[in-house]
Amino acid sequence: MKPLSVSALAVLGAISRSVRYGFDIMDATGLPSGTVYPVLGRLERDGYVRSKWESQGIAQREKRPPRRYYEITAAGARALAESAEHYRTLGARLGISPRRTPTTK
């Protein structure tokens, strides 16, 4: 499998930590909107995340339009683990010990 790109890894990592909405993902990853949304589109197309609309009920209670949220799929979780491992070994091979790596859980 081809490892995920670094931004895809960050986005997928955020979603796996239950950060579900586009703008929240920007906040969590620090990536600009012009990066986050195409990455979300790609991840969805490749089957690593699936998107849903939040229920009309919640939106209506708050009197706002419904938001779209993203969930990680099993394939996404696998890809995340493998890619994280890939970057870890890459870092180790290069003699870089990352202080913090995106984790699956």
Partner: protein
């Protein structure tokens, strides 16, 4: 639609952001647009809400939100590229390549068929492009105008030097007006073998008018038109060939016509491709023969001033011509006819080339038909695969796109193969067609041709790919799934293939008719009696340098010596000479019957004069009809004698004998000759042209003809004519090493070459028609063979139920021949409409020649029958048991 729960400020921020979203929205593919907008709107509203909640919201947070909204643009672009599906296209391509590799024979057949069509089209288009479409290789060629002189409309005579000077100096429509002689020759002597080359005498501004710069050295100076300057410009070809491209030749002198000339320049190679001239010399306007208004020998070419049309120029030149006519009586009714230079260069080949281009286009159409038929057959065979893919979720458009990708891949591969084939076809055409087409040397595959071939490949792919793709698009999945594993096909596919076969037969019929008409026309042409016997006859041109052979007597002495020595060569039957050999020249002069001078210039009669030696008529085997030929008694001191051709004798003295009558002939000075003989007519201008009315003179009498300084030696041999060529050369060289012997050729080959152009186009069209016929027959065969395979079960059942093999055989043949007959009927209609285009190329054959139609229809029927027999025989071999077992 939402309740207004946002503060006014937050609402303003939201609106501002949504305006940005709406701008980016137009990029988003329609299918995703609503979802995409809703997602952004949902997030933005939520964020605006957050702004409200964190009261005292700073401008910083607002700006941040707006900046983040800018992300809609990359997002929108991403959805667009994602929708274009670069990946699935690659997938289609991979799949297509895999399909080709898996069925290499099928792919090879398709590519070869198409490459044949595309290659022929590439070659033909290159020729049409170079000859007809591409501008002439001169500066602003559209402004160049060619001028013919004449007393009548459409006359193509030349212009006299004094007239030229008047036209040049009085006109205000040409920025430059130049002239030159055509058909001149010169003899170069010096270090090498003496050589006769084409030479032209040009005005000083000739090259600048065309916009041609010298390759080396300079062009003529205006002052070199005055007086008699012995300077010369060489063509690139002559310079390379005779002087090994040595630039030091400039400034040195070379003997031309026995007189030293200083070489002042070399012309660029492009001029070799457009004009057959090796030596250029300046026109000596000062000389006596340059000042006679009725000596017309200049061709004029002018460059129009910007903004002047050719019609305006024509009116302007007409006005000058009227002034000249008022001034000089010999210019009465004389005027110029202006023609675009391009039309003169291209000549009459335009219709021929367009017919040939149409013909190759038809060949390509037929090839497309075959390939479409093949693909349809394969589509039927692949209907199971398609059904499975549909069932697995492939959309209809996805299937069509995939089939078109396959077609495009095949088409482009064929295009590349066709380009290679086209290149070699062009090499062949250039080798075979030399001299038969103007501008042939310029023909090449350039960017335009590449674009044409690429376009044709794409178009071809669409044409042959459309049928199977549409077939796939309207397939019924359920029916296909049901038929999976059984070899059967939908009716519609078969009927499409039937239509393809009918169209192919009709198109090839039209091409075959065209080819048949040209072949018959060529046969008629070659059957025409020339009036002499060309077998075992050798012709050679001899030029005597004027500086050395100044008198008639000197010329005659030289010729007598030649005859004497040639007769001594073993194997020579007889030898003679003439100034006007068949297919090597022409021209005419005025004459009248003695005592009946013409009342006006318009009443003057003309005929074609030639000098012939005593043995000319016997050597050529031109029959003597009455009287005698020339003999040694016809001397300079005797009475003037002449021989006329049968046609002239009949015109002048219908029902009476021409013998003893006397004619007065204009050779500058009048020559009075008594007709002592009448000989048969000779088609001097080739088999396609009528025999001119001829007058023959003997070179021994002064004022008879223009002398024998240039003549054609005619030698009839007993054995192989090629064997004596070297001996002829040796004879002439032994007499005078400065006399060049050129254009040595057997007369049979001269005649053969004279119909080279019609033969060339006939061969081309026959080739195209042959390819079309093969493709159509293969198409018919393929369709029938496929149909028989599909119906083998039906055949088996029929035979199990008692049908005799002959009945099955007849059924299949009838199925095929129905299509052939319908195709031929349509072809007859098409041919009657199309062959009118050929009318101008035909000689003694009408475009609706019944014999050609009958022969072609019969041949096509036989070919069709042959294509039916194999599949029909296979049908009779269908095994009833196997068929029943399958049920």
């Amino acid at each position: 639609m939402m309740g207004d729960e946002l503060s006014r400020d937050a609402r303003a921020v939201y609106d501002r952001c949504m305006r940005i979203v709406h701008v980016a929205r137009v990029v988003v593919p329609e299918r995703r647009r609503d979802d995409w907008t809703r997602e952004w709107s949902g997030e933005l509203w939520y964020r605006a809400l957050l702004l409200d909640r964190s009261r005292g919201s700073d401008r910083h947070a607002v700006r941040r939100l707006v900046v983040r909204t800018m992300g809609v643009f990359p997002h929108a672009l991403w959805t667009l590229t994602d929708e274009m599906r670069i990946d699935p296209m690659l997938q289609d391509l991979k799949y297509a390549i895999r399909g080709i590799v898996k069925r290499p024979a099928f792919a090879a057949l398709v590519v070869a068929t198409l490459a044949l069509g595309i290659g022929a089209n590439t070659a033909m288009f290159s020729i049409v492009h170079s000859v007809l479409l591409r501008p002439l290789p001169y500066e602003r060629p559209d402004a160049l105008v060619y001028m013919y002189g004449g007393f009548k409309q459409n006359s193509q005579a030349m212009v006299s030097p004094p007239d030229y000077l008047d036209y040049r100096d009085r006109n205000s429509v040409f920025s430059s007006l130049a002239g030159r002689t055509v058909y001149g020759t010169a003899i170069i002597t010096g270090s090498d073998e003496p050589e006769r080359v084409q030479s032209s005498i040009a005005t000083a501004n000739f090259f600048s008018t065309l916009g041609v710069k010298p390759y080396r050295g300079r062009v003529f100076l205006p002052e070199e038109e005055r007086g008699d300057h012995a300077v010369a410009i060489l063509s690139y070809g002559l310079w390379q060939r005779r002087y090994a491209g040595d630039a030091r030749i400039i400034g040195t002198t070379i003997p031309i016509d026995g007189r030293p000339h200083t070489v002042i320049g070399i012309m660029p190679p492009l001029l070799d491709r457009t004009m057959d001239v090796q030596i250029w010399r300046p026109i000596p306007f000062g000389l006596d023969e340059m000042s006679v208004r009725r000596f017309h020998f200049l061709r004029l070419v002018g460059r129009l001033k910007p903004g002047v049309t050719i019609a305006q120029a024509q009116r302007h030149m007409d006005a000058i011509a009227r002034d000249l006519a008022a001034q000089y009586p010999e210019n009465e009714s004389w005027h110029l006819n202006l023609v675009p230079y391009r039309d003169v260069v291209i000549g009459g080949v335009r219709p021929v080339l367009l017919v040939l281009l149409g013909a190759v286009g038809v060949v390509l159409l037929i090839a497309c038909g075959n390939v479409a038929s093949l693909l349809l057959a394969r589509a039927s065979a692949r209907s199971g695969e398609m059904a499975v893919r549909t069932a697995l979720g492939a959309g209809r458009s996805r299937l069509v796109r995939q089939l078109l990708t396959e077609s495009l891949l095949l088409g482009v591969t064929a295009g590349i193969a066709g380009l290679v084939l086209g290149h070699y076809l062009l090499v062949a055409v250039r080798a075979v067609g030399d001299g038969m087409l103007p501008r042939l040397a310029e023909v090449e595959i350039d960017g335009t041709v590449l674009a044409f071939t690429f376009g044709v490949s794409l178009l071809t792919s669409l044409v042959f790919g459309a049928a199977p793709a549409l077939h796939a698009a309207r397939s019924d999945v359920a029916a296909m799934m049901k038929s999976l594993g059984k070899a059967s096909t939908t009716r519609s596919a078969v009927s499409t293939r039937d239509v393809l076969v009918v169209v192919q037969v009709a198109l090839s019929f039209v091409l075959l008719i065209g080819a048949g008409l040209l072949v018959r026309s060529l046969w008629r042409l070659q059957d025409v009696q020339t009036g002499f016997d060309p077998s075992r006859l050798v012709a050679a041109s001899v030029s005597l340098p004027q500086t050395k052979y100044k008198t008639r007597d000197a010329e005659v002495r030289f010729w007598d010596q030649v005859f004497e020595r040639v007769r001594a060569i073993p194997g020579v039957e007889s030898v003679a000479a003439t100034t006007l050999f068949p297919l090597r020249g022409g021209g005419d002069t005025y004459f009248y019957i003695e005592g009946q001078p013409p009342a006006t210039d318009a009443d003057r009669m003309n005929a074609t004069p030639a000098i012939a030696t005593e043995d000319y008529f016997t050597t050529m085997r031109i029959p003597l009809i009455a009287g005698r030929v020339f003999n040694a008694a016809d001397r300079s001191d005797g009475a003037g004698v002449m021989i006329v051709s049968d046609a002239l004798a009949r015109r002048l003295f219908p029902g009476a004998s021409a013998l003893g009558k006397r004619l007065v002939v204009d050779f500058g000075k009048p020559f009075v000759g008594e007709i002592v003989g009448v000989v048969g007519d000779v088609r001097i201008y080739g088999q396609a042209n009528d025999a001119p009315e001829m007058m023959y003179f003997t070179g021994r009498q002064p004022n008879a003809g223009w002398g024998m300084g240039f003549g054609n030696l005619a030698t009839r041999v007993r054995g192989d004519p090629d064997a004596i060529v070297s001996q002829l050369r040796a004879v002439v060289r032994s007499l005078d090493p400065d006399v060049p012997l050129s254009a040595i050729q057997t007369v049979e080959s001269i005649l053969y070459d004279s119909v080279a152009a019609p033969r060339f186009r006939t061969q081309l069209l026959v080739g195209f028609a042959g390819v079309a016929l093969i493709l159509a027959v293969v198409g018919l065969y393929g369709m029938l063979a496929y149909s028989v395979t599909q119906r083998s079960r039906e055949m088996g059942i029929r035979m199990a139920l008692g049908a005799r093999p002959t009945a099955v055989f007849r059924m299949v043949v009838r199925q095929g021949m129905m299509l052939v007959v319908v195709g031929i009927v349509l072809g007859v209609i098409g041919a009657i409409a199309a062959t009118r285009l050929l009318a101008a190329q035909l000689f003694a054959v009408t475009p609706r020649d019944p014999a050609v139609f009958v022969v072609v229809a019969t041949a096509l029927t036989m070919a069709g029958l042959a294509a039916c027999i194999v599949p029909a025989r296979r049908a009779t071999k269908a095994d009833p048991i196997a068929a029943l077992r399958l049920e």
